[in-house]
C-alpha cells in the first residue's frame, strides 16, 4: 500500500430506503494500479463507483480524492478528472462515435487540433478503426461501442478510470479480446483504475488488487492467491470455489 492513494473512502455508508447498500466501507485506490471490486449482484459494488463520481452522496463517511474531500458543489470539476465506462457503453445515440468521444473536449473549448490528434491517438490505443468514427452507436457492434466508450472516458487523460461491468454484455470472444486490450492500455498509461465485475477470472486478469464485497461490506482485499489461500470468511471460499473452474493461473 502506498502512502498517498488517489481515492480513499473512510467509513462510507449509503442507504436506499429500508435497505442499506453500503456499510461503513473503507477503501484505498492506489495510483497507477488497477483495483478490481468483485462480489455477487447487489453487493453494492456499483454503488461505490457512483459515490466516487458524485452520482450519489454518502449518508455517512468521507470520500477523499487526491487528498481533498469530495464536495458536492465542486463535484463537476472532479468528474472531469475521472473517466467512467458503464455496461453497454452509455453512448449518446444522437451523436456519432466521434461526437461522443469529443463531447467534453468541445464543451471545455479545447483546440480542435489538439483534440483531433488526441482522437487519433486514442483510436490506435483502443484499436478502433478511424473510418468508423462517423458511425452512430446503433451502427456499431457491442465491442466497438465499448471501445468508443473507453475512448470517451480517456479523452481528457483522466487521473482515475472507473469501469462498471464494462464487458458484462459482450460475447466471450469479444470479451477476451477487450480484456487483453484493456490490460495493455492500463499498463501503457500507468492508469489508476477501479473496475467493477462479477467475474473472478476478469478481476484476477486485470486487477492488481482484488476487493471482495458482500452485502454492502468489504470482506477481503488482496491478490487472488491471498484470497484463495487465506480466505477471511466462509463466504470468500464459497465465492472463489464457485468460480474455480474459470480461474486459470
Amino acid at each position: 500500500m502506498t502512502a498517498d492513494p488517489l481515492v480513499q473512502l473512510i467509513g462510507v455508508s449509503k442507504t436506499f430506503g429500508e435497505a442499506a447498500a453500503i456499510h461503513e466501507v473503507d477503501l484505498l485506490v492506489e495510483r497507477g494500479k488497477t483495483t478490481a471490486i468483485i462480489g455477487p449482484s447487489g453487493c453494492g459494488k456499483s454503488t461505490l463507483l457512483r459515490l466516487i463520481i458524485g452520482l450519489l452522496e454518502p449518508d455517512a463517511g468521507e470520500i477523499i480524492f487526491d487528498g481533498k474531500p469530495l464536495q458536492t458543489d465542486k463535484v463537476e470539476s472532479i468528474r472531469r478528472r475521472i473517466g467512467y465506462v458503464i455496461q453497454e457503453g452509455g453512448l449518446f445515440p444522437h451523436l456519432a462515435a466521434r461526437g461522443n468521444v469529443l463531447l467534453m473536449a468541445r464543451h471545455l473549448g479545447r483546440s480542435e487540433k489538439e483534440t483531433l490528434s488526441r482522437l487519433s491517438e486514442l483510436c490506435t490505443l483502443a484499436r478502433f478503426p478511424e473510418n468508423l468514427l462517423d458511425r452512430y452507436p446503433l451502427e456499431l457492434s457491442g465491442g466497438q461501442r465499448q471501445r468508443v466508450s473507453l475512448m470517451r472516458a480517456l479523452m481528457l487523460s483522466p487521473e482515475l478510470l472507473l469501469l462498471d461491468e464494462p464487458l458484462g454484455a459482450l460475447d466471450p470472444l469479444v470479451r477476451a479480446a477487450l480484456q487483453k486490450d484493456l490490460k495493455e492500455i492500463f499498463g501503457r498509461l500507468e492508469q489508476t483504475a477501479l473496475l467493477v465485475t462479477h467475474d473472478l477470472a476478469e478481476a484476477a486478469y486485470l486487477g492488481d488488487v482484488i476487493v471482495l464485497m458482500h452485502e454492502g461490506r468489504i470482506v477481503q482485499r488482496g491478490s487472488l492467491k491471498q484470497l484463495q489461500q487465506n480466505p477471511a470468511s466462509n463466504f470468500v471460499s464459497e465465492f472463489i470455489n464457485a468460480q474455480r473452474g474459470l480461474v486459470i493461473g
Binding site: F16, G17, R50, I53, G54, L55, L56, E57, T72, V75, E76, S77, R79, R80, I82, Y84, I86, E88, G90, L91, F92, P93, H94, L95, A96, L103, M104, R106, H107, Y136, P137, L138, E139, R152
Partner: protein, 536 residues
C-alpha cells in the same frame, strides 16, 4: 426514474445555470427557423388591433338579416368613397355590443327591443329619447328606425286564416281547436308564449315545441295551424303566410336601427342616418329571401340599392351602375380563398409558435416531476377539456382580449399547449437513467446536458407533440371566425347560417387540405431535425 432510486445529484437544476454554449441542437435550429418565419407577426397583430381603425368597421350578428343590413351599410359608405370593412357574423348581442363599446367595430345593426331588454336591461318599453340618452352616456349613438319592425309574430297559412276568418291574434280565441307549433325559445321567453296566452286569454291550447325551420314545414303541411316567427322571415312570403295583427300590442317593438360610436365622423353618421325609414317590412322580407335564395348577402344588399331610390346623400346616382357591378361581384373567389387561407395560417402559425416557445420550457419543467410537474400537466390537460367554443366565450370578456385576433390566437395557443408540454416531459423522462448518469458523470454542466444531450434525445417526441399541436391549431382555427377573426371558418360559418353546403365546403375542404399539408410538412421536418443517430 423509479421511486426507489435516489435523485441524482446535480441533475435537477438545468434551468438555473447559465453556460449555454456553442452547439446548436436541432430543436434550437428549428425554433430559430420558426422565429424567422413568423417574425413579421407582431406587425400583423398591431395591424389588426390598431391600424385597422383606419377603415370604418361594420359588424353584424350571426343571422341572415344582420348580414344583409351590414352589407347595406357597407355599400352605403363605400359608394360615398369611405373605406369600409364588414366583419360578418361576429356572434350575438353581447359580443357585438362589447366590440362596439371597445371601438373594435364602429357600427352594427341592432333592434330597439333588444337594446332596451338586453343592453339597457329594462323591462318596460323606454321612450326613444331615454334610450338615446342612456346609450350616449357610453359613447354610443343610435339612428332612427330603418323602417321595419322585426318582432315576434304569430303566423298562419293565408288560405287557412281566410277560411277561418282570423286576422288578429284576438281572433284566435274564437277557434279553440287550432294547433300551435312554437319554438322552444318562444315557449320560454319573457315576452313569449305564456304571457302572450295570458294577455290574449288563450287558455288550454294544443301546443307543441318544434324547431323553427321544421315548424314552417309543419305549417305548410297543415300539421299545425299557428306558429311563431320573426315578422321579416323570408319564409313568410315564400310560403304565402299571414302575420296575425298584434291588436293588443303585446310584442315589444323590434325596430331595426344602427348603433354607432359617437366618435365616428359626421359624414359617416349622416350616411347611416340616410338609411332611416328606407327599409320597410316587405323590403326587408324580400332582401332576406334574396339572400337565402342566392346565398349572397352582397347581392341581396345591392337589390336594395337598385330597387329603391338609393338614399345617396351626395345625390350622385349616375355612377351607380358601374358601382353595382363592381361591388355586386365582390371579390373573386380566388382572392377570397387566399385571404382566408393566409389569415388561417397566420392564426394557426402564430399560436403554434407561442405554444412551442412556452410549451417546451413548461414541458422541461414538468419533466422533473413533483408537485409543479403535476400542476403544469394538469392545467394543460384541463384547458384541453374545455370545449373550444366555451374557451372563446371565456376569453372574450377579459380586458385585453375581446373580439379580436388576439383572443383567437390565445385560445389556439392554449389548445396547442398540452401536446407539446406532455410530449416534451415524456420525451425527457423516457431518456434511460444510464444515459442521464453518463452525461452527468462526464462533467457536462446542467445546461449543456439539457441542450446537447437531453433535448436532442427527446427531439422525436417533442416534434411529434409539435406536429399534433399544429394539426389541432389548423383545425381549431376555423372557430376563430366566430369572433370575427377570419380564416377558413368564415365560409363555414356563413354556410352553416345559410344552410348552404357549397359554401361550407369552400372553407372545410381547404381546411382539411391544409391540415394534411401541415402533417406532411412536419413529417419532412422530422428528417431534418431528428438527429440521424435516432432515426436508424
Amino acid at each position: 426514474m423509479k421511486c426507489q432510486t435516489p435523485r441524482l445529484v446535480g441533475d435537477l437544476d438545468w434551468l438555473n445555470q447559465s453556460t449555454l454554449d456553442k452547439l446548436h441542437p436541432p430543436i434550437f435550429r428549428f425554433l430559430s427557423l420558426f422565429l424567422i418565419m413568423f417574425s413579421w407577426f407582431p406587425g400583423f397583430l398591431i395591424q389588426s388591433s390598431v391600424l385597422a381603425k383606419e377603415p370604418v368597421v361594420i359588424g353584424s350578428k350571426k343571422f341572415t338579416e344582420s348580414y344583409v343590413l351590414g352589407e347595406i351599410a357597407k355599400r352605403q359608405l363605400s359608394d360615398a368613397g369611405i373605406s369600409v370593412e364588414h366583419r360578418q357574423g361576429m356572434g350575438g348581442t353581447i359580443i357585438l355590443w362589447e366590440a362596439l363599446r371597445n371601438g373594435q367595430i364602429d357600427a352594427y345593426p341592432e333592434y330597439t327591443g333588444t337594446i332596451i331588454q338586453e343592453i339597457l336591461k329594462r323591462n318596460e318599453p323606454g321612450r326613444a329619447d331615454f334610450v338615446e340618452n342612456e346609450l350616449g352616456k357610453v359613447g354610443i349613438g343610435m339612428t332612427k328606425p330603418l323602417g321595419f319592425n322585426n318582432t315576434y309574430a304569430l303566423v298562419m297559412r293565408r288560405d287557412r286564416a281566410n277560411a277561418l276568418g282570423i286576422r288578429t291574434i284576438s281572433d284566435i280565441r274564437k277557434r279553440p281547436d287550432l294547433k300551435f307549433g312554437l319554438t322552444h325559445e318562444f315557449l320560454d321567453r319573457q315576452d313569449g308564449w305564456r304571457p302572450l296566452a295570458t294577455a290574449y286569454q288563450l287558455n288550454s291550447r294544443d301546443v307543441i315545441g318544434i324547431d323553427h325551420a321544421l315548424g314552417y314545414e309543419a305549417l305548410r303541411n297543415g300539421q299545425i295551424d299557428v306558429k311563431d316567427a320573426y315578422s321579416t322571415d323570408a319564409k313568410i312570403a315564400q310560403f304565402d303566410l299571414v302575420v296575425l295583427e298584434d291588436d293588443q300590442e303585446f310584442f315589444p317593438r323590434y325596430d331595426a336601427v344602427f348603433l354607432y360610436r359617437l366618435a365616428l365622423n359626421d359624414k359617416t353618421v349622416a350616411l347611416l342616418r340616410a338609411l332611416e325609414g328606407k327599409i320597410d317590412d316587405s323590403t326587408m322580407t324580400r332582401l332576406n329571401a334574396e339572400a337565402e335564395r342566392t346565398k349572397n348577402y352582397t347581392q341581396a344588399a345591392n337589390l336594395f340599392f337598385t330597387s329603391t331610390a338609393a338614399p345617396d346623400v351626395s345625390g350622385n346616382s349616375t355612377g351607380l351602375t358601374s358601382q353595382v357591378s363592381r361591388s355586386g361581384l365582390g371579390e373573386s373567389f380566388a382572392h377570397k380563398l387566399t385571404r382566408w387561407i393566409v389569415r388561417h395560417l397566420e392564426l394557426a402559425g402564430f399560436s403554434l409558435l407561442l405554444s412551442i416557445v412556452i410549451g417546451i420550457p413548461l414541458g422541461i419543467w414538468a419533466s422533473r416531476g413533483g408537485g409543479i410537474g403535476h400542476l403544469i400537466l394538469g392545467f394543460a390537460g384541463i384547458v384541453q377539456t374545455i370545449p373550444s367554443l366555451a374557451l372563446l366565450a371565456l376569453l372574450v370578456p377579459l380586458p385585453f382580449f375581446g373580439i379580436s385576433v388576439r383572443t383567437a390566437i390565445a385560445a389556439l395557443f392554449l389548445y396547442g399547449l398540452l401536446p407539446i408540454v406532455r410530449n416534451t416531459a415524456t420525451g425527457l423522462q423516457d431518456i434511460p437513467r444510464t444515459l442521464r448518469e453518463a452525461a452527468i458523470a462526464l462533467g457536462l454542466s446542467p445546461r449543456a446536458r439539457l441542450w446537447q444531450i437531453y433535448l436532442p434525445m427527446a427531439s422525436r417526441s417533442i416534434l411529434a407533440g409539435i406536429k399534433t399541436s399544429a394539426v389541432i391549431s389548423v383545425g381549431t382555427a376555423t372557430l376563430a371566425a366566430l369572433i370575427g377573426a377570419g380564416g377558413l371558418g368564415e365560409p363555414i360559418l356563413s354556410g352553416l347560417n345559410l344552410n348552404d353546403h357549397a359554401t361550407i365546403l369552400q372553407g372545410a375542404i381547404p381546411a382539411a387540405i391544409l391540415a394534411l399539408m401541415v402533417q406532411t410538412f412536419f413529417d419532412l421536418l422530422d428528417r431534418v431535425l431528428i438527429p440521424k443517430g435516432l432515426r436508424l
